[in-house]
């Protein structure tokens, strides 16, 4: 099963309460995915440098010391705050430098996401627990995509839960399963893409990362994904400026979209949309199979 939800604001009317609007959407999908949940929120963007969501299994991990280490080693300024087991680091250099430094000197720190505005937060447990743990209700931003997981293809772990990072400010959530993920993983590994889990969605995420590295636009990468990924799926892709929705050509996995003057919302089921303001008068429809929908503030 699994549930997907996304909320993209077309203007700044609800930016200060996006978390409050999104939390009930994620919780409404509990029955579709009770074993883990996660979300990627876009907001609080950095102008220079990079924002990373870092994670350490020890809740008492000394993030201040890590910040100091990075400042000294990379000769830069670090602004950071902690949120449960994760910490958001804003660093004045590019992503690669920080990630290389962490890999070589602090390999117990996981990089969940990197970009100008993305933060990926996910955990095993009921969606309501994840909402509380990361204080989703207080979050501000322009868009959020989220996922509630009922595991089928791999173990119930934090690493196997969604969203998966697919590059700078990019992430992926998925409802369905892929049947060619093992072969595709091997092909991608030969191209230098690294994988942390046996999860099928991570392969799809890796595939998008690879296509984007090859110079594809997001649209081209998704068109290639439609040709390459075998299985059944509804995908939602978070980008710096908005999100995209794609369903496989058979479209067995559900999706519904609602649009008003203020937002575009997508969900696996309409139930997740009922708490949104003005939903009664929203345009509501089911996205067509094998069609790529993109909403972005600086694009369409």
């Amino acid at each position: 099963m699994c549930g997907i939800v996304g909320l993209y604001l077309k203007n700044d009317k609800y930016e200060s309460e996006i978390g409050k609007l999104f939390a009930p959407m994620l919780i409404a999908m509990t029955e579709r995915g009770p074993d883990s949940a996660g979300f990627a929120v876009y907001g609080d963007a950095v102008e220079d440098g990079i924002k990373l969501t870092l994670r350490h299994e020890d809740e008492n991990y000394d993030w201040a010391a890590l910040a100091k280490d990075i400042e000294t080693a990379l000769d830069t300024k670090v602004n950071w705050f902690q949120n449960s087991k994760v910490a958001v680091f804003k660093v004045g250099v590019d992503a690669e430098k920080v990630e290389d430094y962490l890999e070589q000197n602090h390999d117990d720190v996981l990089v969940m996401s990197s970009g100008k505005s993305i933060e990926i937060l996910k955990e095993v447990g009921l969606p309501e627990r994840i909402v509380d743990m990361f204080k989703l209700g207080d979050m501000k931003g322009s868009h959020i995509i989220g996922h509630t997981r009922m595991a089928t293809e791999s173990a119930v772990t934090m690493a196997g839960s969604h969203p998966f990072s697919t590059g700078l400010d990019l992430c992926l959530v998925h409802n369905g399963s892929f049947s060619n993920h093992n072969r595709l993983r091997k092909e991608l590994q030969r191209e230098g893409i690294e994988f942390d889990t046996e999860n099928d969605t991570e392969v799809a995420a890796g595939y998008l990362t690879y296509r984007l590295q090859q110079g594809d636009s997001l649209n081209e990468a998704l068109e290639n994904a439609l040709k390459t990924l075998d299985g059944f799926y509804t995908l939602t892709i978070g980008t710096k400026d908005g999100f995209a929705v794609v369903r496989d050509p058979i479209a067995c996995k559900p999706a519904v979209i609602a649009e008003t003057d203020d937002y575009v919302a997508m969900a696996s089921e309409y139930q997740a949309l009922t708490t949104l303001p003005g939903i009664e008068d929203a345009k509501v429809w089911e996205p067509e199979p094998a069609r790529i929908y993109v909403w972005e503030r600086n694009g369409n």
Partner: protein
């Protein structure tokens, strides 16, 4: 008011001006369906209003009495499934499988319907005033379905009996592996499925559509604008030429 105490079933709804009213912001789907099923042996309340459905699944499922049920808002999956005799109107959109396996009665969707509308239904009439998603009328076995908008891909797949009439367009693979269901489409058909062909529109077909529009209360359609599609009957009978394939 009790929401789930079976001993107090009759208090799971209010009667307002003789209309049984179930508010799903207070009561459960179980309360609603039980109250409707309780009318089977002895109908005391004919008209029902369902308030705040908010996309709940399984609304008004398994009704088997001549009730008139109005669902005031969007419904989730399998709404009005297995309906017998009731007239059920959804004043909103519906999720997948609306009126699946309907036996008789009338189900009307004022908005759009998701995939598999009217799946495997044996009888009755399903009217969708908006669009229907993929697989509309899949394996239909006698139901009549009228869609005022368009239908998605694989509609009427393995349709055995009944009529699917589409006032808009049809998606890919219409009528794939079709048996004897009758398909009428006014707009374009993206592609026909295996063994589905366009057929001549004869007087009896005009009559069949005219009668369907009347029953559905549709007055703005002319049956002569529609094209008919049916089975080429090459696929569903055993052919000795294909014996090697078994």
């Amino acid at each position: 008011m009790s929401t789930n105490n079976l001993a107090e079933q009759t208090s799971a709804f209010e009667t307002i001006n003789g209309v049984g009213t179930v508010d799903l912001s207070v009561q459960t789907v179980r309360d609603l369906n039980q109250a409707l099923h309780d009318q089977h042996d002895d109908m005391t309340i004919e008209k029902w209003d369902v308030l705040n459905p908010k996309g709940h699944h399984n609304l008004a499922v398994g009704v088997n009495q001549k009730l008139k049920i109005d669902i005031h808002g969007p419904a989730g999956y399998y709404c009005a499934g297995m309906n017998q005799e009731a007239e059920i109107t959804i004043h909103g959109h519906t999720g997948q499988g609306v009126a699946e396996n309907m036996m008789s009665g009338l189900v009307r969707v004022k908005g759009n319907a998701s995939s598999a509308a009217g799946a495997t239904a044996h009888g009755g009439l399903l009217v969708i005033e908006g669009d229907a998603g993929s697989r509309c009328g899949i394996s239909m076995k006698g139901v009549d379905i009228l869609v005022k908008g368009s239908v998605g891909h694989m509609s009427c797949f393995m349709g055995q009996a009944g009529v699917l009439a589409v006032c808009g367009d049809a998606g890919e693979a219409l009528g794939d592996s079709l048996y004897e269901a009758h398909i009428y489409v006014k707009g374009s058909v993206k592609s026909l499925g295996a063994d589905c062909i366009e057929k001549e529109m004869r007087a009896e077909h005009i009559e069949e559509l005219t009668e369907l529009f009347e029953r559905a209360g549709v007055t703005d359609q002319d049956p002569r604008d529609f094209k008919r599609y049916g089975s080429a009957r090459q696929l569903y009978n055993f052919k000795v030429d294909n014996a090697g394939a078994y």
